[in-house]
């Protein structure tokens, strides 16, 4: 492996990281929070100082292959959350490191699971930082760097390692331009959300934090009651629509921009995504109708919750722990569906689900007609068998890792629904599960071991397993073969 190159990227990224801390520092300055400001500046300058000696080492060659890119991505996703946890600890707002780490990992991976019992006690700077990590983590740290740094031909490797979905491609020839377009679309949509939320009488600071949370499909709120605090149908609808938009593959937005509407219409994943959303909302709406009495209200709550869970955001306007079992079961199932590939959302991804279902269909056809030639097709084109196999293997890893984590979590003895949904919610980057980790609860009661396992799950889920797993393969670190 080309270790000097990996190191070179790490040093570059540490520098970018230190710059990121200046934004929350500015927020603390505006609100006059001296402690928070000081802690952000300490971490920022610490990282900058660290990156200086690191930058002395120049890469011997610029050969980058898949393994280098995977290792770079994995290392970054360990370094950034650790650095992100430091301000919480230094300022004393979350005194225990494990808790701060959990919070920071949950932020960067856009999970939105918190260990805070009283969110409102945090300073503005910290609240902003939590939401800001969602925004950066949503589209990706490295994609951000690719958009900022001069273009290189390694860009696709890095993008592929960080972007979710079975197939990652570029929509313009240059990797850097693709990254710039991604962040532009992302930024504009976020600003639109802020404006729309402000129009609904949400204070500006709250709007910014919630918009970033929705954009990254994260889910950190700044009120103990979550979005329910505002109790406004308008805000609920804005956030529902925006969460759904951020759960769409960003290629779709690009296709819309260049006016290729027919291609958008042909996109199967988008259609399935919307159908699942509509069907689940209607079913849950009908199921909870007796609780809320009016059709409008039940649909408002059900649509919000379905969008929130499906896009793996994790905002809540109602405590769905109190809903009937049927609704809860649908929500749990949605946790496994996830958003579209190439979006900021996590989960298993609608695209993969479609491929698995089609592949299963092919399997049955083959049973009936052993000699028939069937291919998995997508939009009238045969799909690469490597992609289909990749999806199947991913499903295997996905199940295996989740089962392992559940086994460890079960040592805490908090009941089946809690353990199961905690792992599911963390692995799929959603945040709230059911029972003890429901939307109005938090993760503070777990033991340190469980918190670390859940933190790892979140990173595994965000990076779709492979980059982090590759770190544990010994041959990656060896010099020869």
């Amino acid at each position: 492996m080309n270790k000097t190159l990996v190191f070179h990227y790490l040093s570059k990224m540490t520098f970018v990281g230190s710059a990121l801390f200046l934004l929350p520092a500015a927020v603390s300055l505006i609100y006059g929070e001296a402690d928070a400001f000081r802690s952000f500046i300490i971490v920022a300058s610490g990282l900058a100082l660290l990156s200086l000696p690191m930058s002395v080492i120049k890469p011997k060659t610029d050969e980058m292959y898949t393994r280098e890119s995977l290792v770079i991505v994995a290392m970054l996703w360990i370094v950034f959350p650790v650095a992100g946890a430091l301000p919480f600890v230094i300022s004393g707002e979350i005194p225990r490191f494990i808790d701060a780490l959990f919070e920071s990992v949950s932020g960067f991976t856009t999970t939105g699971a918190t260990i805070l019992t009283d969110v409102e006690s945090l300073s503005h700077g910290m609240l902003f930082w939590r939401s800001f990590t969602h925004w950066i983590g949503g589209m990706g740290i490295l994609v951000f760097a690719l958009a900022v740094f001069p273009s290189s031909k390694d860009s696709l490797f890095l993008m592929r390692a960080e972007c979710p979905g079975p197939q990652v491609g570029k929509f313009v020839p240059k990797g850097k331009k693709t990254a710039v377009y991604l962040y532009t679309i992302y930024g504009v949509l976020t600003i639109v959300t802020v404006i729309l939320l402000c129009a609904g009488d949400m204070p500006f600071f709250d709007s910014v934090c919630h918009a970033m949370g929705a954009a990254g499909t994260g889910g950190f709120g700044i009120k103990n009651a979550g979005i329910a605090y505002y109790d406004s149908a308008y805000i609920d609808i804005v956030i529902t629509v925006m969460m759904m938009l951020f759960g769409v593959n960003f290629n779709i937005f690009y296709l819309l921009l260049i006016r290729r509407f027919r291609d958008v219409g042909k996109n199967l994943e988008l259609r399935v995504y919307l159908i699942i959303f509509a069907a689940s909302s209607l079913l849950i709406g009908a199921n909870i109708f007796p609780m809320y009495k009016t059709a409008g209200k039940s649909l408002r709550y059900s649509a919000f919750q379905v969008a929130s869970i499906m896009t793996t955001t994790g905002y809540a306007t109602a405590d769905y722990n109190l809903w009937p079992e049927f609704s809860k079961m649908i929500l749990v199932m949605l946790m496994f569906v996830g958003a579209c590939a190439g979006s900021t959302g996590g989960g298993f991804k609608v695209q993969r689900l479609i491929i698995i279902i089609k592949n299963t269909g092919r399997f049955f056809k083959k049973l009936l007609h052993p000699k028939s030639v069937n291919l998995v097709t997508s939009e009238d084109k045969a799909m690469d068998t490597a992609v289909v196999h990749g999806v199947n293997s991913y499903l295997g890893i996905y199940i295996f890792l989740m089962m392992g984590s559940m086994l460890v979590i079960s040592l805490d003895n908090h009941g089946f629904a809690t353990s199961f949904s905690a792992v599911t919610a963390c692995f799929n980057n959603i945040g709230p599960g059911i029972e003890l980790v429901g939307p109005m609860e938090n993760y503070s009661f777990f033991s340190d071991v469980s918190k670390i396992v859940l933190s790892l799950d979140m990173i595994f889920g965000r990076l779709e397993c492979t980059p982090l797993m590759i770190m544990f393969v010994p041959s990656v670190w060896k010099k020869k073969f």
């Binding site: 898949t66 273009s151 290189s152 031909k153 860009s155 696709l156 490797f157 491609g169 570029k170 929509f171 313009v172 020839p173 240059k174 990797g175 850097k176 331009k177 690469d384």
Partner: protein, 451 residues
């Protein structure tokens, strides 16, 4: 600029790499997904799988908005049709690879109707290159600049050369011949030498001078070789066709060895003056029988790199002939120069350079690149610029007072019809044509050479 390359073969992929390195937005179209996968992984380009002749695929690649579309599939007809469709969709310029001599012959006749900007004929270019080397047998490679007035010659320094172990300053002072050593490859290091540089035996040096001065240089350094009068060519493909035509026209004796009887008959009919032998060029007895020991030059241009290498080695060891070897795989070039074959011709590199020079010339309107060559395994670039306007900090200033980038050298100036190698007191004036040698820089404008 946005560009599309249809056909991701050897030339297509190396063009994709070079053009994307020069910050162009490149989209590659090919039917073969495996080849695309490789390009996609190693280059910063977008790849689209599909038939480039399909209008919808071209639309998907945004060909209509492209500045240049380059068609380099295996088939001439497909290339021409691709270009026609691209023009219909609105592409500004199209370049097609046309190999068939019959097509190429009449390309000027149909070019306008096809909307074709340029046709590249790799075999034709290769034959020209081989011809130049055969005319200057001491050289491993010859590039021509400034309308043929300046030559850039690559040459491996033998121990017997008079310039070995003298600093260049002294060499220049001692001789009357005007020449400039502008790039040196020693082992894997590349130097752009200054006056203090001391050449050693085994260095591969690049000399810039007029053709007459080059001859004088070889005479002076004591390494002059006899003029090539007879040439043995193994491999009767299209390069052979173009080469034989050119060699016969300057009165050389040509002997062609080719495996395929039908092709032999064709060649015999085309070139009654040449001797056509039907046989296996790797058969060493045959080579001896046909007089390899007496031939002045031996050109191995079969379709298989390995065969070319083996034959050339045999020729090198068993005769005094000037040996020219065609090699397509870039990775072989380094290896072969290690085992003593120094005159390597790669059609792929030649066609890539031809396209690249054209693309560069489009980039800038002020001072155009006239031609461009990659020398020393593509690591040094020689580019010819035309000075079309006064450039502050460059024109009218003595060269020794110029502040130009490191590892950059102004190696020749063409003023009016006079070519000269500039010294420190020379100046560059409006209307001059200048050749700049550079390492690790890619200039698209003469202005860029300034610090």
């Amino acid at each position: 600029m946005k560009m599309a390359i249809i056909g991701n073969g050897k030339v297509g992929s190396s063009l994709a790499a070079m053009l994307s390195n020069e910050k162009h937005d490149v989209t590659v179209i090919d039917i073969n997904s495996d080849a695309l996968e490789k390009t996609q992984n190693t280059e910063d380009v977008m790849c689209i799988e599909g038939n480039g002749i399909d209008k919808d695929i071209q639309k998907q690649a945004n060909v209509g908005k492209s500045g240049i579309v380059i068609a380099t599939t295996h088939y001439d007809e497909v290339n021409l049709l691709c270009c026609l469709i691209a023009r219909k969709l609105g592409a500004a310029r199209t370049i097609a690879r046309v190999r068939n001599p019959e097509y190429y012959k009449q390309i000027d006749f149909i070019r306008d109707d096809l909307g074709l900007t340029m046709a590249i004929n790799p075999e034709g270019i290769t034959a020209d290159e081989i011809l130049r080397v055969l005319i200057t047998p001491e050289a491993a490679k010859v590039e021509v600049f400034e309308r043929g007035k300046m030559e850039l010659v690559e040459y491996k320094l033998p121990e017997t050369s008079a310039i070995v172990n003298c600093s260049l300053k002294d060499v220049y002072k001692r001789t009357k011949v005007k020449f400039l050593i502008c790039a040196v490859q020693r082992e894997s290091e590349i130097y752009i030498p200054d006056g203090e540089f001391i050449p050693q035996a085994g260095d591969r040096i690049n000399i810039a001078a007029s053709h007459r001065d080059i001859e004088q240089f070889f005479r002076m350094s004591g390494t002059v070789k006899d003029k090539v009068k007879s040439c043995m060519i193994v491999g009767g493909g299209r390069i052979c066709y173009y080469l034989t035509k050119a060699l016969l026209s300057i009165g050389m004796h040509v002997k062609i060895i080719e495996n395929n009887l039908t092709r032999c008959k064709e060649l015999a009919e085309l070139f009654p003056k040449a001797a056509v032998i039907c046989g296996d060029g790797t058969d060493q007895d045959l080579l001896v029988e046909e007089g390899i020991r007496e031939a002045d030059a031996f050109v191995a241009i079969t379709g298989i790199d390995e065969e070319n290498i083996i034959m050339s080695l045999y020729a090198k060891n068993n005769s005094n002939a000037k040996v020219v070897t065609k090699i397509n795989r870039e990775s072989y070039v380094d290896l072969t120069s290690k085992i003593g074959l120094d005159c390597i011709i790669s059609p792929k590199t030649l066609s890539t350079n031809a396209v690249l020079a054209y693309v560069r010339s489009l980039d800038n309107t002020e001072s155009n690149i006239e031609s461009i060559y990659h020398i020393v395994n593509n690591r040094v670039e020689a580019a010819e610029f035309k000075i079309r306007k006064e450039i502050p900090g460059l024109t009218g200033i003595r060269l020794k007072d110029l502040r130009i980038k490191k590892d950059t050298l102004i190696c020749s100036v063409l003023r009016g019809r006079q070519m000269f190698i500039p010294d420190g007191t020379a100046t560059i004036e409006l209307g001059d044509s200048v050749v700049v040698i550079s390492k690790e820089h890619r200039f698209s404008d003469i202005h860029d050479i300034l610090e």
